[in-house]
């Protein structure tokens, strides 16, 4: 199974198709190179967040947070936008699954773990795509800012995480 993300990272459709391919793949395909796919999923997660940052005129950071660029990119995206924290644990789960798969590539549950990792990455893709279409996605729930009042941003009474 191909693990090069260069061909898939260009479009949201390409990312989603790649994730669907991993999710639908037979166990034998997933266990042939689980660490490679786990790394690829991590990179796809980074690409998803890079798209968000690019769209907002921010240069995606090359830095790491807790050893992972994905987490650094999430922190960067969440700065000034608390609703972005609605995908914080989703990013952490991608990292967790990557660690799980690469530390035990021969585990009997590996195919399932890879599939779950791809499903978590799919949630990140859906959430970010949703936010790119409707920026308020996630703002009802874990955070909120006034949308229609004058001086809306300064009226917010809670501080971002």
């Amino acid at each position: 199974m191909m693990t090069d993300v260069t061909a898939t990272r260009k479009t949201p459709t390409g990312i989603m198709e790649r994730l669907e391919t991993v999710i639908a793949a037979p166990d034998a395909t997933l266990v042939a190179n689980p660490s490679g796919i786990a790394h690829e999923l991590l990179e796809l997660g980074e690409t998803i967040l890079e798209r968000w940052l690019d769209a907002h005129g921010t240069v995606p950071t090359p830095q790491l947070s807790e050893g992972f660029r994905l987490l650094a990119l999430h922190r960067q995206g969440a700065r000034g936008d608390p609703s972005f924290n609605a995908c914080r644990e989703t990013c952490r789960e991608i990292v967790y699954h990557r660690n799980l798969i690469t530390s035990e590539p021969g585990h009997p549950d590996t195919a399932r773990r890879v599939r779950l990792a791809a499903m978590v990455a799919r949630h990140l893709a859906l959430f970010i795509d949703g936010k790119l279409e409707a920026a308020e996605l996630g703002e009802f729930c874990c955070s909120s800012r006034p949308l229609r009042t004058r001086g809306a941003a300064s009226a917010a009474t809670t501080v971002p995480e």
């Binding site: 608390p82 924290n85 609605a86 995908c87 914080r88 644990e89 989703t90 952490r92 789960e93 967790y96 699954h97 399932r112 599939r115 779950l116 499903m119 978590v120 799919r122 949630h123 859906l126 959430f127 795509d129 949703g130 279409e133 409707a134 308020e136 996605l137 996630g138 703002e139 009802f140 729930c141 874990c142 955070s143 909120s144 800012r145 006034p146 949308l147 229609r148 009042t149 009226a155 917010a156 009474t157 809670t158 501080v159 971002p160 995480e161």
Partner: protein, 307 residues
């Protein structure tokens, strides 16, 4: 039983009188079965939900503060809110009143205008239904009261996003093993496991369900929910347990919509955690309002001896 929350003020909130009626019913029934007393706030009002919060956050702070003032006036130092939205908003009001002078000024002015005492931060603690049962009865107490074990039932526990975010309004969480975790909540897992269920490892337990866009961008919500459902199934879950009426309704209606619009059928059932606990305590499925759910779990529950 510690008795810590054996008698608390109860704030059901608007959703539990509407689409979340089964949650209201099952929460009250579980309370009765466990010997816990709930005293509903008199003349409570909307917590401000998302609509008011998005228009004017300080008005939302006032609306939630008025509910806390009612609890205080009724002589309670604890109010229990089962809805994640209400729970979140009451906690947020508490935080704002403690940290933001402008919020205190607005709440003071509106309270005076409305003719009631101004709520001051620190008088009343807001807890969730999960805290209520966990702190009052605990897993050990619950285990001793189980009459119909949930053994054989595999559950994905879905907490949604408002139960733990933003972290700064929940100062009591992340305080060690006995406290709730904001990154990987476990109170619902613990309680249902005590009732005999097997909690599956569910990596999307706090992920976004697109709740705010259920009507304005239904396809986004449906896709997010469908991913929650299929992931739960991939984890081996028979049931997704919920503890929020908004999440619950979203999961139910988008499960139906996913089949109609995208042709993707999922079989996982959606039940409130209080419905599951109620049945484990020996209450009938009807008594905890399972028949009010859109998600028809009757065959599964019968097969597990819980119907």
């Amino acid at each position: 039983m510690t008795g810590k929350h054996s008698k608390v003020a109860y704030y059901p909130g608007c959703a539990l009188e509407g689409t979340g009626h089964a949650y209201n019913r099952s929460t009250k029934e579980v309370g009765k079965a466990l010997g816990l007393e709930l005293v509903e706030l008199k003349n409570w009002n909307c917590c401000g939900a998302m609509e008011v919060k998005n228009l004017d956050p300080k008005l939302q702070t006032y609306l939630s503060a008025r509910n806390l003032a009612i609890a205080e006036k009724m002589g309670f130092d604890t109010v229990m809110a089962p809805c994640n939205g209400c729970y979140h908003n009451l906690k947020k009001a508490e935080y704002d009143l403690a940290h933001d002078p402008a919020s205190r000024e607005v709440v003071g002015r509106l309270s005076q205008k409305a003719g009631h005492e101004t709520y001051e931060a620190g008088a009343v603690t807001t807890i969730h239904a999960l805290d209520w049962i966990k702190d009052s009865v605990g897993e050990q107490g619950l285990r001793a009261r189980v009459r119909n074990t949930l053994k054989g039932l595999k559950i994905a526990n879905y907490y949604g996003c408002m139960y733990t975010r933003p972290r700064h309004i929940f100062p009591e969480k992340d305080k060690g093993a006995d406290s709730e975790s904001t990154s990987k909540p476990h109170f619902m897992d613990d309680l249902l496991a005590a009732a005999g269920a097997e909690s599956v490892e569910y990596p999307l337990k706090t992920a976004c369900c697109g709740g705010a866009h259920t009507l304005s961008d239904s396809d986004t919500s449906t896709k997010l929910v469908l991913n929650l459902l299929t992931t739960a199934e991939a984890c081996g879950a028979d049931v997704i347990a919920t503890e929020c009426p908004t999440c619950h309704t979203g999961l139910e209606i988008h499960q139906v919509r996913a089949e109609k619009v995208f042709g993707q059928k999922t079989k996982v059932k959606i039940l409130y955690f209080t419905q599951l606990l109620g049945m484990a305590l020996g209450l009938s499925a009807r008594r905890v309002g399972v028949h009010e759910n859109f998600s028809d779990a009757s065959d599964l529950l019968r097969a597990k001896g819980l119907g």
